[in-house]
Amino acid sequence: MTTRRNAVKFIAGAAAGTVFTPVPWKLIRDSALWSENWPGVPRPATGEIKFKQTRCGLCPAGCAVRARCVGEQPVSLAGIEGALCPLGVTGHHLPFHPSRLKSGPVAEAKARLSQALAGGARPAVLDLRPGRTASARYRQIMAERKGFYLSPPRPPVAVNLAAAKVVISLGVPLFEGWLAPARVFAVRDHFRLVQVEPSLSRTAALADQWLPAATDLHALASSLKSQGQVLVLDHAMSPEILALNRELGGWGKTVVPLPDEPPAEIAVVPDGAIGALLIDESGPGPYIPWPEIAPKLAPGAVVVALSWWREGYARHTALALPTPVYPESADDVPYTREPIAPLVKPPAGVIDPVEFIAGQPLGAPSPASPLMAGAVVPRIAEMPVSTPLFSKLYNESNLLMHPHQAALHPSSGFRPGEPALLAGAYGNLEIEVVLDPGIAPGRVGFVPTPAVLDICGFREPQVVRA
């Protein structure tokens, strides 16, 4: 007869019996193993492990890369001639960037461009990574169509640190990405660095000598000549600095002229002259603030941004078309024409910027230019891009500031973490104050993201109370 007492007896017996079965012990073990496979735990794809070689397409240095792939998917990147920079190490994450542009109005963009050009609109191509084979095509197309070939400011020379015994740097972030880190650290022990900079930057902290200011640069350079070849650097490698390097005997040794003509900068274009603007933003790189571009556009101008992400020029036009991004894109290293072989196939629906602008495939890279071996093109302005690992290593470890932070000297009167406004020539942005004794009084440290550059242009912003 089924009674409550009998049911309890049966359950007690079943419980006792269960102890002598594999059930509890197996479930304890399985639950531990199950925790290795939670949905949030990243699990690399399984498959054959292969190694591929290419060059990094994230900056003009074009570091040689060895990619470890599972099947066709790269799972880790490493440098061949030296370590890669943090962004280079995580470059294979870029196709999965949360801001990746995946679709766009291609047919509408083509139709509106055709209409504008048929109506006599003057075209312009903004090439954010000049010096490539693609750049030569853009330059040729714009010359044929009487358009403007534009690019961000770039130095007229490449720099060869290996030929220098003394480097005088006028605020150049030499160890913070101005040149490829692997190239810099490979020759670091062979030159003495004198960093002239009001703030105690990371480069200043790692220099052999830090000078907050140099009243007589010629005298400083002359006094160091006895130690060997002196190289003087500033951000833009300005004409005065080039002249000084000539005097010091560095022309053709420590500073090497780039092989092609400098492209036109946006500042030389008359206001309202551009009727159709095509922007090749197919990779992370320099960014020209939109307020510098907008006045150059004619009323009703068509703007097509061929971009890999939504955070750049795609914010300023409805005609944003997705492009492949490193390591999906076939490209070449600026000024050397070393081919950058794609490691993975680009997703369906992306547009090759050269095919879109030129209307035909790019073809093979042209032969290598005579840029001196070892010379590297400096990066004047690079917009920061974070991949998940990059963020984890840097943004969360205080090694790199968050885009919504600005650094001030402790004497500024602000409290750490205080909300404030970053005030630029074109607008304000809400930020959080970080105090850093390494920042010179009166100066502001900030992260030059596209959103920040759009409010301050090329001028340093101020921090004001909210």
Binding site: N6, K9, F10, I11, A12, G13, A14, A15, A16, G17, T18, F20, T21, P22, V23, K26, L27, R29, D30, S31, L33, W34, E36, N37, R43, P44, T46, G47, E48, I49, G71
Partner: protein, 176 residues
């Protein structure tokens, strides 16, 4: 009546635990193709390392990709239905077979085939049994909770072998 009811509970649990539970906890699926290691070993004269090779840098190729199989089976070499099905369903359309991996180790384990085969002189059969002589692939079973095959080598097995052969068995040897 007290003892029989209690005993019935014990026996029910033992039956469910030893007979029903193992069937419930594992889901089983056939491998994509009925592959015969025996035919490849005896008729084609293949050795384990012909397909499951160590690369020159010491990394293990694991289960061979379709490209490797297609090197010999671009067209039928025999008359078996399994070979014809393999070519029709995988080689011709270029579709990679989704093999169930009986011995897949967790991601937090570093296992070097090169170290075991070359330095430890361990034979394939010591861990993988008579797989190399099998006429067909056994169905692939997967634990519904843990996601691993019952043939996956556990840490107890690793430690037992390392201790028996007096090989270093510290944590970081495998969990690097």
């Amino acid at each position: 009546m007290k003892a029989p009811i209690f005993l019935a509970g014990v026996l029910s649990a033992l039956g469910a635990g030893w007979v029903g539970f193992p069937r419930l906890i594992y889901k089983t699926a056939p491998q994509p193709i009925s592959f015969s290691h025996k035919v490849h070993a005896e008729k084609a004269g293949s050795k384990c390392e012909d397909c499951h090779a160590l690369r020159p840098d010491g990394t293990f190729a694991g289960i061979p990709p379709l490209e490797k199989c297609a090197g010999c089976h671009a067209a039928p070499m025999g008359t078996t239905p399994a070979e014809k099905a393999f070519i029709d369903q995988y080689v011709t359309p270029g579709r990679e077979p989704q093999w169930g991996d009986y011995a897949r180790q967790p991601e937090n384990v570093f296992f070097s085939h090169a170290a075991h085969i070359r330095s430890g002189k361990v034979k394939c059969e010591d861990c993988h049994g008579d797989m190399g002589k099998s006429e067909t692939l056994p169905p692939y079973s997967e634990d519904r909770v843990s996601g691993y095959s019952p043939q996956t080598m556990s840490m107890d097995t690793c430690i037992e072998c390392h201790q028996r052969d007096k090989v270093v068995d510290t944590c970081l040897e495998c969990h690097k």
